[in-house]
């Protein structure tokens, strides 16, 4: 019972991460590819400014929660995916530093360099996380101890690429929907158009991943969730087309929730399949912590998560206002040079 509860909890934590940091990463990439001026880039950055760090904690908690509840899953997944996770770490570090440092010196080249770090760091992070999640739903070459069989790239296959593209594509759409909702002026218009025109293409990989896993191991629940996801994304697209940014964003979020739910439902009770021998699959039962530890963690999560949801929601409420180029300080006036 408790291992299953924790399987759901881990799924919720990953969902929380993709839902929240999903648009952060998307906005990061849009700063590089969609923005057309310094003003637009700063508008974009400031939509996520107050919240990106809190969103990133979902990743840490998803990782630490997996460590606490399913140590064998955590150990195998993270060690087998050593190279892609190293790249994710480098991407996250570069991105975090860049967001904070970018505005600290008023110089075009300085800003440009950190824009690259934000954009590329976001893309690499999204791709690596997607590849890792795709592989934990489709399998890795692990032996009976959970260790990798083969070299540093033994994990690399079509699923990894598909999952990577899936999360990158999703983040781009989700990020655009977020920008359309949170900005005004040129950024809002362009982002809204991007959702309508881009979503049918950018969401193809994630649809392929969900359907693929459904065909491999899916059951009634996972297919039911696929139906929900399809309804949600059609709804989101129609709303986006008629300029209803709020509903479009909600629809995309529902699409992700149902899609990710479908993936986790399809693989349950396996948490990490072995592509070498199904007997070596890590499952909810054989990879989990003791009932006592899971009990402790259940109490912790039951106290902590509602609180987190409440104050994160409050922070979004505080920063609910749309941002426009005219709100950005220091664009028209002379840069304030630091005293030497």
């Amino acid at each position: 019972m408790l291992p299953t509860v924790w399987f759901v909890a881990i799924a919720v934590l990953w969902l929380g991460y993709l839902l929240l940091e999903g648009f952060d990463l998307g906005v990061g990439m849009h700063m590089l590819v969609t923005a057309r001026s310094e003003g637009e880039r700063r508008v974009m950055l400031n939509t996520i400014g107050p919240v990106w760090d809190g969103n990133e904690v979902w990743l840490l908690v998803a990782g630490a929660g997996t460590f606490a509840a399913f140590p064998l899953w955590y150990a195998s997944l993270f060690s087998v995916l050593y190279v892609p996770l190293t790249l994710v770490l480098l991407g996250l570090i570069a991105r975090a530093a860049a967001i904070e440092f970018r505005g600290k010196v008023h110089d075009a080249r300085w800003a440009r360099a950190w824009d690259l770090a934000i954009g590329i760091g976001s893309a690499v992070t999204a791709f690596g996380i997607g590849a890792g999640l795709a592989l934990t739903t489709t399998g890795l070459p692990i032996d009976g101890n959970g260790d990798r069989v083969g070299g540093p790239f033994a994990w690399l296959n079509g699923w990894a690429v598909l999952g990577g593209l899936a999360v990158v594509g999703f983040c781009l759409v989700h990020g655009a929907a977020f920008l359309a909702l949170k900005t005004d002026g040129s950024v809002r218009r362009r982002a809204g158009r991007l959702v309508v025109r881009g979503a049918p293409v950018a969401l193809l990989p994630i649809v392929g991943w969900v359907l693929g896993v459904g065909l491999l191991t899916g059951g009634v629940v996972s297919w039911a969730l696929v139906v929900v996801a399809v309804v949600a994304i059609v709804f989101a697209w129609l709303r986006a087309r008629s300029g209803r940014e709020g509903w479009a964003f909600v629809g995309i979020a529902a699409f992700l929730a149902a899609g990710a739910g479908s993936l986790f439902a399809a693989v349950y009770p396996v948490v990490l399949p072995s592509t070498i021998d199904p007997a070596w699959n890590l499952t909810v039962a054989n990879a989990s912590s003791s009932p006592y530890t899971l009990g402790v963690m259940t109490v912790v999560a039951a106290c902590g998560l509602p609180l987190v949801l409440a104050y994160q929601a409050w922070s979004y409420w505080v920063f609910r206002r749309r941002i426009d180029v005219r709100h950005i300080p220091g664009l028209q006036e002379q840069p304030v040079l630091l005293h030497r």
């Binding site: 904690v57 570069a94 530093a97 630091l338 005293h339």
Partner: protein
């Protein structure tokens, strides 16, 4: 190269680096919270300037700590999968609690604080900072709980060859954790105190150097303003002398706390990890005397050629037990006991790979632990003394004109950082050859310990580890340069660098609903 060595270097480098930012965050957070609280209470603009200035530095440092902290959460699984499997039932829980009860608070409320200027009511805005700061302080507790369990495992039973958690409360109230936590927090205050002191000293010295503040022949102080810089007015002087005094007091209080808690930790160490304490003293022979300085080949494991130059009789017993007569076991007596208890060689088995059957060296690297211990105490002591001297030298309201002293004050910022790093290096290397040290105290846990040689990920290659080690080291090096450059620019710029409105025409501010803060 053995993957084990690369993985250890990587953990060492990334952790020591991360812990350059952490103590400053932990210590400076409450200080900034205090400064803003004074401003909200008194509406004295000088407190606002202090809040804004040190808040800026706090954030630049905070973000590098955040960025490098993610690595810590991942590398247990990536590089130390066997360790993660072995300790997972116990070790993951404090990490998850840290995330849920600390990191979320810290990052969400700091976001609210950074962007909340002018948007949130003053008191609520102050509260967001304090919640974030408390988040940091709570996060330190959980991570120290996790680390202390590796130093002194409690609350578990050995089931099927792995420790199984049976008492979370015992883990959370581990004596090792409580002492180490107090030591870490007080050490962080020492860092923050030194930071304030050094920066304020530099600013006051520059005001004198630029002829803004003048000490007259009758030793009275004339406080002036810089006609070319609105940020360096009369109030500016009050800002810095205030920062200097707060810094000195915080540093002195911090160091006093460090000494008390360090003594407490020492006494625990003698019981819990006797070998670590013995190598810290290079105590080869069993006895009561404390060697202040030993010469010879301190690094040799069999203690040949180590000669105590200055030895204080009875001091070692005092450190261990509070009296002068208890004999404390030296390395030569401890070694056979360890070998009898935990084996002379590493067990044979797949976990150990090529390392199976190799002899175990129970004496940690004496060179590093011995000097690490002394650097920690030496740097700490010198900095505490310097803080007291600084209070005396500035009693008339400004600093001496000496350029040499100003340089020393700025350089002195580094001493508590060095003491912190040395302390961690000492305690982590002193735990070797174990990654989870055994618990030998009465009522301890039988059979729960793990050799570091068994902890590394079996499937991960040297090439992968080298790739991440080099990649992370390069990125960290760049980050360090950028952080230091930014901090130096802000420090040189003074308050106005953090409050551009001081130099701006007031009419400029009111023409639109511009964000009070934007990236």
């Amino acid at each position: 190269m053995d993957p084990l060595d690369i993985a250890r270097w990587q953990f060492g480098i990334t952790t020591v680096y991360h812990f350059l930012m952490v103590p400053l965050t932990l210590g400076l957070g409450p200080v900034v919270g205090f400064l803003q609280w004074r401003w909200v209470r008194t509406a004295d603009e000088r407190w606002l300037r202090l809040t804004k200035f040190f808040g800026k530095l706090y954030l630049v440092n905070f973000i590098v700590g955040v960025a490098t902290g993610i690595v810590q959460e991942f590398q247990f699984g990536m590089a130390w999968s066997e360790y993660s499997r072995y300790v997972g039932d116990v070790f993951g829980a404090p990490l998850a609690m840290e995330g849920l009860f600390a990191f979320f608070f810290e990052s969400t409320f700091l976001g609210l604080w950074i962007f909340g200027w002018g948007r949130l009511p003053k008191r609520i805005h102050l509260a967001t900072l304090w919640i974030a700061v408390l988040g940091s302080i709570v996060s330190a507790f959980f991570i120290i709980v996790a680390n202390s369990w590796m130093q002194h495992p409690v609350g578990v039973r050995l089931v099927d060859g792995r420790p199984r958690l049976v008492d979370i409360w015992a883990v959370l109230t581990n004596s090792t954790a409580l002492a180490a936590y107090a030591h870490t927090i007080t050490g962080a205050f020492a860092v923050a105190g030194g930071f304030l002191l050094g920066i304020a000293w530099y600013q006051l010295w520059r005001r004198r150097h630029d002829g803004i503040d003048v000490v007259r022949a009758d030793r009275t102080l004339h406080i002036g303003s810089d006609p070319d810089d609105a940020g360096r007015d009369v109030a500016d002087h009050a800002v810095w002398i205030r920062a200097l005094r707060i810094g000195a007091v915080v540093a002195i209080v911090g160091f006093a706390g460090v000494a008390v808690t360090g003594d407490l930790q020492g006494k625990l160490l003698f019981q819990q990890q006797p070998m670590k304490m013995a190598v810290a003293e290079a105590a080869c022979e069993t006895g009561t005397g404390f060697s202040v300085l030993s010469i010879g080949d301190v690094g040799s494991t069999d203690c040949t050629g180590v000669t105590a130059v200055i030895e204080i009789p009875g001091l070692l017993s005092f450190l261990a037990n509070g009296d002068t007569t208890t004999t404390v076991e030296g390395v030569k007596d401890l070694l056979p006991a360890y070998q009898a208890e935990y084996g002379r060689t590493l067990p044979k088995g797949p976990l150990y790979g090529a390392r199976s059957g190799r002899p175990v060296d129970y004496v940690p690297d004496m060179q590093v632990t011995y000097w690490g211990f002394r650097i920690m105490i030496g740097f700490g002591g010198v900095a505490a003394f310097a803080a007291a001297v600084a209070l005396w030298l500035t009693r008339r309201g400004t600093v001496p004109a000496s350029r040499w002293l100003a340089r020393l004050a700025v350089l002195g910022i580094l001493a508590p950082f060095g003491a912190n790093a040395a302390g961690w290096i000492f305690t982590e290397l002193g735990r070797q050859p174990f990654v989870v040290a055994p618990n030998p105290t009465p009522g301890g846990v039988d059979g729960v310990f793990m050799f570091t040689a068994a902890a590394v990920s079996p499937g991960v290659t040297s090439g992968e580890l080298l790739f991440s080690l080099i990649g992370l080291a390069l990125v960290y090096a760049v980050l360090l340069v950028v952080e230091v450059v930014l901090l130096v620019r802000y420090v040189r710029g003074g308050v106005a660098a953090a409050m551009p409105e001081l130099r701006r025409e007031p009419a400029h501010d009111e023409d639109d609903d511009v964000l009070a803060f934007a990236y």
